[in-house]
């Protein structure tokens, strides 16, 4: 593995598979234990540097680090020196002085983790940067697919919604491709980036046409502010054309699954009964997030000889 995890494409097939296998081993090792903790990263320091609110992702990383017995520092940008105008570089130097072995960063600016990686000696894990990438989300999604369907090679994954602004979509397209899945993107043309044609994915505007050929349907969250910016005419029209309801779910093959990175807009991109159905993996995704992130921290900090 490389020193940092900045992009999903930092991982080649062997590395990505190693992360998923390690996550599975960790899950096994912890299964049935009363104290869900491994001593692997004792004495190491992991800093959660969150410039953007995301309680679920922060808690997931925090839990992952703690279960590996690392010391965890939560550094929230709000109410800290950051909001008083301290630059990312100054913060990086502070973390360096504190002896951080790994920095988990969430930031609204695309590329911020790349900048940070050039300023600190420890490992940097991208926990979501702007509209760029969210590689651990892609890893936990891949882990979930493999767990449910038993494989990734040749699995047909359909990603639906705001691909343009979605770091989850970007990371998933890259990683799923690396792992041999076939990805199809479905969105109104206004929510597909220019140049999407060069991505390793099929692109279509027609959700109904691809559902019968999908093993996995991954619904993306629609941000409320897109509605006011005329990316589509109305929430109602969006929901009709690109929302996943019971009727559409019925068009899927029998063992197909439905995914969502959360948080969901129930009734908008996904109907409540779909989200709560047995096909939905939404709760598993959250649980798998912890083991996958443990695997990442373990491999970056302790698992492989330098």
């Amino acid at each position: 593995m490389k020193r940092h995890l900045l992009d999903a494409t930092d991982l080649d097939r062997a590395d990505a598979t190693l992360v998923l296998d390690t996550a599975a081993q960790i899950e096994q090792a912890l299964a049935g234990r009363e104290v869900k903790k491994l001593p692997t990263l004792r004495g190491r320091t992991v800093v959660n540097l969150f410039y953007e609110d995301s309680t679920r992702t922060r808690i997931s990383f925090e839990l992952a680090a703690k279960r590996l017995s690392a010391d965890v520092i939560n550094f929230s940008a709000k109410g800290s020196s950051v909001s008083k105008g301290e630059s990312l570089k100054d913060t990086a130097l502070t973390l360096e002085a504190m002896g951080a072995d790994a920095v988990v960063i969430r930031h609204a600016a695309s590329g911020a983790p790349h900048r940070l990686a050039s300023w600190v000696k420890g490992s940097v894990v991208n926990a979501g940067d702007g509209t760029h990438e969210h590689p651990t989300q892609a890893l936990l999604d891949a882990y979930t697919v493999r767990q449910r369907l038993g494989r990734l090679e040749g699995v047909r994954v359909t990603i639906v919604g705001d691909v343009l602004h979605s770091r989850v979509a970007r990371s998933n397209v890259g990683l799923l491709h690396t792992l041999g899945a076939e990805v199809t993107l479905v969105a109104p043309p206004t929510l597909l980036p220019v140049g999407v044609g060069s991505w390793p994915a099929e692109v279509t505007y027609d959700l109904d046409a691809v559902l019968p050929k999908s093993d996995v349907v991954m619904m993306l969250r629609v941000q409320a502010e897109r509605m006011n910016a005329s990316f589509f005419p109305s929430a109602r029209e969006y929901s009709r054309r690109y929302g996943l309801d019971g009727r559409r779910m019925a068009a899927l093959p029998d063992d197909a699954i439905v995914m969502h990175p959360g948080p969901m807009n129930r009734g908008m991109e996904i109907a409540a009964d779909v989200a709560d159905s047995v096909r939905s993996t939404i709760v598993e995704q959250v649980a798998n997030g912890v083991s996958t992130r443990m695997a990442v921290l373990y491999l970056l900090l302790g698992g492989s000889p330098a």
């Binding site: 630059s87 570089k89 600016a109 702007g130 970007r170 980036p193 220019v194 140049g195």
Partner: protein, 429 residues
């Protein structure tokens, strides 16, 4: 004042000749001129060009003297072979009154390294709402002829039309920063495959091309002079070619960085490569070089945009757009145009001195290297190569996109009205 005899330089790369500089003018030019009462400058193998003229420099004074001053920027310009630079109006306060343009002009005179020619803002405060006192700036000591809201586009078509018409009264020109603002909200880099992958909001080529197309039609309609700043796309070159074929009075410039660098530079997320308009694709670079070679693009304009370290050492989205340009402009033109055989030295003189001086209506600059003309000259060693070290630059800022890159050409000497501002590659004050 000291007289100089420049021995054996090649004017425009032609036959070697001696150039006698006396009382600020070229007194004689010819074979083996006698050395009498003149300091000799051995210039064997050096190319002599008329002093370079920049249509597009940001000097940051008044307002951001921590990034650049008129004096430090003038020194950088002289070291780059320039004898005149147009200082853009987006200072603080904005250069939108006779008072501010005269202040900048006077600071340039005091520094005495290049002629600093202020550009006046088109609209009050660059706000794009009402015309600044263009006539007062034209009549001031600074004799402003170029007007620009650079950094912003004069987006309102009716206001742009009025500006184009109004400056006809004093033979002025409106230099447009062509960027349709509604198409570039939040834009961070060229819109294309890379912006999609990097998750940085795209700046589509069409946002530039749409404004240029509109403006050349307006300029044609009212018979006015239009200058297009920092053209960056292949489509823009096509529109300019079409406009010129119709006889529209339009001129255009391209920056050194758009001739050399592409959006691939953004892969590093290093904001030193963030610039407006953004670095484009290989195909755009090729079209810009072709456009400069065939004269569709009239001039090289540096868009020298110094920024303090804290404005660049940050996340990409937070960083200010802009790059240094004065000190490496000629080297980049040699690399991209001269060495590949797309422009000869006379062509370099034309695009970097003669035409920009004509666009700015600078009588004393961009003149031929012949007896009787003002001695605004630059001597260049075309065979030298050096690796760019930002720490060694004369600019107060360090945001050079060429850091660590080896580039050809070295400015050995620059003369401003017969006075050496640079000798042996060193600034004289």
């Amino acid at each position: 004042m000291t007289n100089y005899l420049v021995k054996g330089a090649k004017p425009y790369g032609g036959e070697a000749a001696d150039i006698l500089i006396k009382d600020g003018r070229i007194a004689a030019i010819g074979d083996s001129l006698p050395v009498t009462g003149a300091e000799v400058i051995e210039a064997d193998g050096l190319i002599a060009l008329p002093g370079l003229v920049d249509l597009h420099t940001h000097l940051r004074e008044p307002g951001r003297e921590d990034a650049e001053t008129v004096e430090t920027g003038s020194r950088a310009a002289a070291l780059g072979g320039f004898t005149a630079v147009h200082a853009m109006a987006n200072t603080d306060p904005v250069a939108d009154t006779a008072g501010v343009v005269e202040q900048v002009w006077r600071l340039g005179q005091e520094a005495g390294l290049v002629d600093v020619v202020p550009v006046g803002a088109v609209t009050v405060g660059l706000a794009g709402e009402r015309l600044a006192e263009l006539g007062a700036m034209a009549d001031s000591a600074a004799r402003v002829r170029v007007f620009s809201d650079d950094g912003h586009c004069v987006a309102d078509p009716a206001l742009m039309r009025r500006a184009l018409e109004y400056v006809k009264a004093f033979d002025g020109v409106v230099a447009q920063h062509a960027e349709e603002p509604r198409l570039t909200v939040g834009a961070q880099m060229h819109e294309g495959d890379r912006s999609a992958r990097l998750g940085l909001t795209g700046w589509p080529a069409a946002a530039e091309e749409a404004i240029i197309a509109r403006d050349v039609l307006l300029a044609e309609h009212v018979g006015a002079r239009l200058h297009v700043c920092h053209v960056s796309t292949a489509g823009s070159v096509e529109i300019l070619r079409w406009a010129k074929s119709r006889g529209v009075r339009v001129t255009a410039e391209v920056t050194p960085h758009h001739l050399l660098l592409t959006d691939a530079c953004a892969e590093s997320y290093d904001p030193v490569f963030k610039v407006n308009p953004p670095l484009r694709t290989d195909a755009d670079v090729e079209a810009l070089r072709a456009g400069l070679a065939d004269g569709t693009i009239d001039a090289v304009g540096t868009d020298h945009a110094p920024h303090a370290v804290e404005d660049k050492e940050s996340e990409w989205a937070q960083a200010r757009p802009g790059m240094l340009g004065l000190e490496q402009a000629l080297s980049v033109v040699i690399e991209t145009m001269v060495e590949p055989g797309r422009l000869d030295w006379a062509g370099v003189a034309d695009r970097m001195s003669v035409r920009p001086a004509a666009i700015g209506r600078l009588g004393e600059h961009g003149r031929p290297i012949t007896a009787g003309e003002p001695a605004n000259l630059v001597l260049v060693d075309p065979t030298a190569r050096a690796t760019v070290d930002p720490a060694a630059l004369a600019s107060r800022s360090r945001n050079s996109p060429y850091a660590g890159r080896e580039l050809p050409g070295r400015v050995v000497a620059t003369f401003l009205r017969g006075v050496p501002t640079v000798l042996d590659g060193k600034a004289q004050k």
